[in-house]
């Protein structure tokens, strides 16, 4: 989240798209209801009339996978009607930048694709001889980002879009007029999204379309604004912050690739070029964070002479995302699997293929609270246990309340949790289990092995007790001074905790396991454990700066300097997040995005010391035109990889730069005419291991079901409670039907299309069992992140025993 949960209450308009917040993030509605009571409008865009839709002022249905078309029509409306925050556009975005004249968008493509990759050389700026980007503040130059954007989205008129999304034109108008009303400087709107947005072959571009819209309306960095990813697990924010994904190290540093042979060459790829004298280009500090990270991991063994042990870091040479790993496993290239709190036999796409891939493993270690479906994969339907040779170990794990530690919520708040109850039986904390792994690895490598140094030299000093200390882990993440230092007159001793990432150094005199969390655990104490409620008179926006700790540097709203004009005056004085005080030469309010003055002085002259608000990009300005993504600088509508219709926006049917893993497993509309999506319910969690074993939750939702419209059910003779068989190109499942007016057929340009939805929590093991929706989903993913396209695929459906496999 750019903002945080409490801040939803400050919004004038909340748009929920690709999320069913009322169902999956019930607590969000505490704040959304507060906003609505103050007059805010709630818009829900979803294929189904969900619990969130039921609370909305405006509900717009859309066919799964057509978000860019719908948002594109809202962008087009905002530009055509002039509902823009013009000062914001000029001050804080790259709207005025001139793009190279060679840049061309035609036939749905942003240039030539070769070997699955775009030639992106034309997605670049016009520059003067000094390398400065050329701009046109009148926004009239046809090569300006604004004019290119305008031309790109002029194709997205309501009628064309309605023919793609199936949203009635009047609903598109209602969404557009309600949302764009917040272009006024004193108004803000927020977008809440989740997996309904990201789990597409163009998921990243879906999010980008929200960013473009929000920037046009001046809604980023302001109270009640932002783009807010509602994370699906209590600590998934924390795990991505700490390097869960294969392409990032802790703190969103790029993980090194095979070509990054030395620290120097690697750092060159991490620091973006600075193209504006008033850009702070914060990533220029990356060398300090990388060195401090290497010092945290390898301590005294990381020296200037050995490139701070950069050679110890694994270098990636390919795609190690979920789908790619299971494809490799299917080919027998992976011998072992540690499934740590993961249940891919239920949660992974194309379950039948992934379960079959598990058979190729020599060993598996599953670490979980319960016996998961994955940990007993030989019990999967149709499997013969006697043919499976995999040796499986199940390590019982302690639950979050059975151990101490931090949890980072979607709003980036790291909150300390206490050990509330002892774990049952021999269940152990993850930290205990990992420590035993490391100790054993060190023992084995001591006896020999290839390249033992990274393991043998690895620091692992979390105490000598039976239970490793989470406080020592948190302190290591925060970082230490490794030499006596003085900062602004204050002396720090070797071994003192670093007060914040501004104090990290590239010369090896500091350590930090994750620069973003530097400042969370300092000499004064564990700031994540703070529980002070600030009174409303002191904190009218409800930022609660002394409740827990928020990355970075306890900043509650990201890019908050963009809530002010170029002189540092808040656009919305009644909802002021920060304000520049020219007399005191400092910012008041939330922790600002850096202490520097705003770009302009009070008299309107340029301040050379001033800095633009978007400090994480090289030029300091938010990107309407984003040249760094794999699939184009502007979001463009493509059809899901499996779609019932042709793309009415361009001749390019699919995202042209996705990896197609199993071309033979693509379902065609003639055979599978119905659009399907998967989703969750309040009562169950993810792949179900934690909830399908809890009687009180099983009581509430004992079986999976498929939701469908009355119109579809009528043609198939189906009633609520009937058993139906749902089939895709990958497999077939049988489950109960829910026939409801909450789903309606979509009237598209040239045909009517039905959509159904299936909850995906169920599997074959546990107290409550049932068929897994992911038997139906495909091994196909997003062009940038590889996240699987769970949310739009094709199926057919019949009353069991009538044309379907029962």
């Amino acid at each position: 989240m750019t903002n945080h949960w409490n801040d939803l209450a400050n919004s004038d308009c909340v748009m929920v798209i690709g999320s069913n917040a009322a169902e999956n993030h019930p607590m969000s509605f505490k704040y959304i209801k507060e906003a609505q009571a103050k007059g805010a409008k709630l818009i829900t865009v979803d294929p189904r009339f969900t619990k969130t839709a039921a609370q909305s002022d405006v509900y717009a249905p859309l066919r799964s996978g057509t978000d860019i078309a719908l948002i594109g029509s809202v962008i087009n409306y905002a530009i055509a009607k002039g509902l823009l925050q013009r000062d914001y556009l000029l001050t804080h975005t790259n709207a005025s930048y001139l793009v190279k004249p060679e840049y061309k968008f035609s036939s749905g493509m942003f240039g030539q694709v070769k070997d699955g990759k775009y030639d992106s050389s034309t997605w670049a700026w016009q520059k003067d001889e000094e390398g400065k980007i050329l701009t046109d503040p009148t926004l009239q130059n046809p090569s300006s980002v604004f004019q290119l954007l305008k031309a790109h989205y002029s194709r997205y008129d309501f009628k064309t879009v309605s023919g793609i999304t199936g949203t009635p034109v009047e609903k598109l108008e209602a969404v557009a007029s309600t949302f764009c009303a917040t272009h006024k400087p004193e108004k803000s709107a927020t977008i809440l999204y989740a997996m309904g947005t990201t789990q597409h072959t163009y998921g990243t571009q879906n999010v980008r379309s929200y960013a473009v819209l929000q920037l046009l309306l001046g809604n980023i960095g302001v109270a009640g604004g932002g783009i807010n990813a509602l994370r699906g697990e209590s600590n998934v924010q924390g795990s991505t912050d700490h390097g869960l994904l294969f392409h990032i190290l802790p703190g969103y540093l790029k993980s090194p690739e095979a070509k990054d042979e030395s620290l120097e060459t690697y750092l060159k790829t991490v620091v973006p070029p600075n193209t504006d004298p008033q850009s702070q280009n914060w990533w220029a500090n990356a060398p300090k964070y990388v060195t401090s990270l290497l010092k945290a991991w390898w301590g005294d063994k990381a020296t200037k002479e050995n490139d701070f042990a950069f050679s110890y870091l694994p270098k990636r040479g390919g795609n190690y995302s979920h789908i790619a790993l299971f494809e490799a496993m299917a080919k027998g290239k992976i011998k072992g699997l540690i499934a740590f709190g993961q249940n891919p036999a239920v949660g992974g796409p194309n379950s039948n293929a992934e379960r079959a891939a598990l058979k190729n493993l020599e060993w598996m270690v599953a670490v979980d609270l319960f016996e998961t479906d994955t940990s007993v994969f030989w019990k999967a339907p149709g499997f013969n246990p006697s043919e499976i040779k995999t040796e499986v170990f199940l390590l019982p794990a302690a639950a979050s309340v059975e151990k101490e530690g931090s949890v980072s919520n979607s709003g980036r708040w790291a909150q300390w949790r206490y050990h509330a109850a002892d774990a049952p039986g021999v269940a152990k904390s993850d930290l205990w289990i990992l420590t035993r792994f490391v100790k054993e690895l060190k023992r084995l490598y001591k006896a020999g092995g290839a390249f033992p140094d990274p393991i043998l030299d690895l620091t692992w000093s979390y105490g000598d007790g039976e239970e490793p200390s989470p406080h020592l882990v948190a302190k290591e993440i925060n970082g230490y001074f490794l030499a006596d230092t003085e900062i602004k007159g204050k002396a720090f001793k070797k071994g003192d905790l670093v007060p914040g990432f501004a104090n990290l150094a590239a010369d090896g005199t500091t350590s930090s396991g994750n620069w973003l969390y530097s400042g969370s655990y300092v000499n004064e104490g564990n700031l994540m454990a703070r529980r002070t409620r600030t009174k409303p008179e002191k904190d009218p926006l409800g930022l609660h700066p002394e409740w827990a700790w928020c990355w970075p540097v306890n900043r509650r709203i990201l890019y908050n300097r963009a809530s002010c004009d170029a002189k540092g005056k808040p656009y919305a004085p009644k909802k002021k997040v920060v304000e520049w005080d020219p007399k005191a030469q400092k910012w008041h309010g939330d922790v600002p995005d850096g202490p520097w003055p705003p770009p302009l002085n009070e008299d309107g002259t340029q301040n050379p010391a001033g800095r633009h608000a978007f400090i994480m990009v090289g030029d300091g300005r938010a990107a309407l035109f984003a040249p760094r993504l794999a699939d184009g600088p502007f979001p463009e509508h493509y059809e899901p990889h499996e779609s019932p219709v042709v793309n009415h926006m361009s001749p390019q049917q699919h995202n042209p730069v996705i990896t197609v893993w199993r071309p033979e497993e693509v379902g065609k509309a003639e055979q599978f005419p119905i659009v399907a999506s998967t989703y969750r319910v309040t009562e169950h969690w993810q792949a179900g291991a934690m909830t399908r074993n809890i009687p009180l939750l099983v009581e509430l939702v004992p079986e999976p079901f498929v939701e469908m419209s009355r119109e579809l059910a009528r043609t198939k003779g189906i009633k609520t409670g009937d058993k139906v068989t749902v089939t895709s190109k990958r497999g077939s499942i049988e489950l109960k039907a829910v026939v409801t007016p909450r789903l309606k057929p979509f009237k598209l340009k040239d045909k009517e299309v039905h959509q159904v939805g299936i909850i995906w929590h169920f599997g074959y093991n546990g107290l409550a069992t049932g068929p897994s929706a992911n038997v139906l989903t495909a091994h196909i993913g997003d062009a940038n992140t590889n996240i699987p396209e769970y949310k739009a695929f094709l199926c057919d459906l019949n009353l069991s025993g009538k044309g379907g496999r029962s």
């Binding site: 309040t682 009562e683 009180l696 026939v739």
Partner: protein, 287 residues
């Protein structure tokens, strides 16, 4: 002060935190359920039972092209003048000062008159047990009447501000405490009634212009406001505004007169018949 709960169904998102926290508070086991067509596949369990004191109903309400999906909590309404208490021969059910209608299992003789008397069909019976009792929501009266809320967390004293907050939330029913959206608002019934009427007045067109439970069956501690007719939420309609015990009151009030009058009449008959028999005996003697 008589407490109540204002159920504002326009705020309920059916997270069912209330339903689960009720079971946890009362130590009730999960029922073995299957897919239930009630609530169009969403509601479970299907009805109140001796192990389910509350549930959320799901109603898809279509008014022309307008579709509403409305969720409502069902449990004992805690009537101002409870029919169950009135029907109870042994005084096992009583209305307390805090508003709760509570049940004393020690007094219960298992006649189940309360079940028949309740206009909302709330009390349930432990049919499956050898020594069965009546079961229903107690409005967590034990929490409401608790003298002191725990003031320590992890062995440390809570700061006064937090202790006050904790004490306030501790003294409310488990279900209302679990509600994230304010759909269940616990407080003084009079104040809640005023809030309910204010919400209806301030949001024209949003609510049905009626507070269910203000007068129904003589008034209930739990009151409801809704965007759809209450009957579509499964709340009994046409209950009338008279309390159920008041129907029986005229008959009951007549009991002393009836006993006296009938007694006097019977005494008269007795005297008359005795006198007649005495006279007959005297006649026979005279013969």
């Amino acid at each position: 002060m008589s407490h109540g709960v204002l159920v504002d169904t326009t705020l309920c998102i059916a997270c069912r935190g209330c339903q689960v926290s009720c079971k946890r508070e009362n130590g009730l086991p999960a029922e073995k359920t299957t897919f239930n067509t009630k609530g169009n596949g969403m509601q479970n369990p299907s009805a109140l039972s001796s192990t389910t004191f509350t549930y959320i109903s799901y109603s898809e309400v279509e008014q022309g092209d307008d579709l509403k999906w409305v969720f409502a909590k069902h449990q004992c309404m805690h009537c101002a003048e409870p029919a169950c208490a009135s029907a109870c021969l042994v005084g096992a059910l009583t209305k307390t000062d805090c508003g709760a209608v509570v049940y004393d299992a020690k007094k219960c003789i298992g006649c189940r008159y309360c079940m028949l008397a309740c206009p909302f069909n709330i009390p349930t019976f432990e049919w499956e047990k050898t020594i069965p009792f009546i079961k229903k929501c107690s409005f967590c009266f034990d929490r409401q009447e608790a003298k002191n809320a725990p003031s320590k967390v992890n062995g440390k004293d809570l700061p006064p501000e937090q202790a006050a907050l904790h004490a306030k939330t501790f003294k409310e029913p488990a279900c209302t405490r679990a509600c994230p959206t304010g759909a269940l608002l616990f407080g003084d019934r009079k104040e809640l009634l005023a809030i309910a009427k204010e919400r209806i007045a301030k949001n024209p067109g949003k609510y049905v212009k009626h507070v269910y439970g203000e007068k129904e069956a003589g008034g209930t501690s739990w009151i409801y406001i809704s965007s759809v007719p209450f009957a579509s939420l499964g709340l009994p309609a046409k209950l009338g505004n008279r309390s159920f015990p008041s129907y029986a009151r005229a008959a009951k009030e007549a009991v002393p007169y009836v006993i006296f009058g009938v007694g006097a009449l019977l005494s008269g008959f007795y005297w008359f018949s005795k006198r007649r028999s005495q006279l007959e005996q005297a006649k026979e003697k005279a013969k």
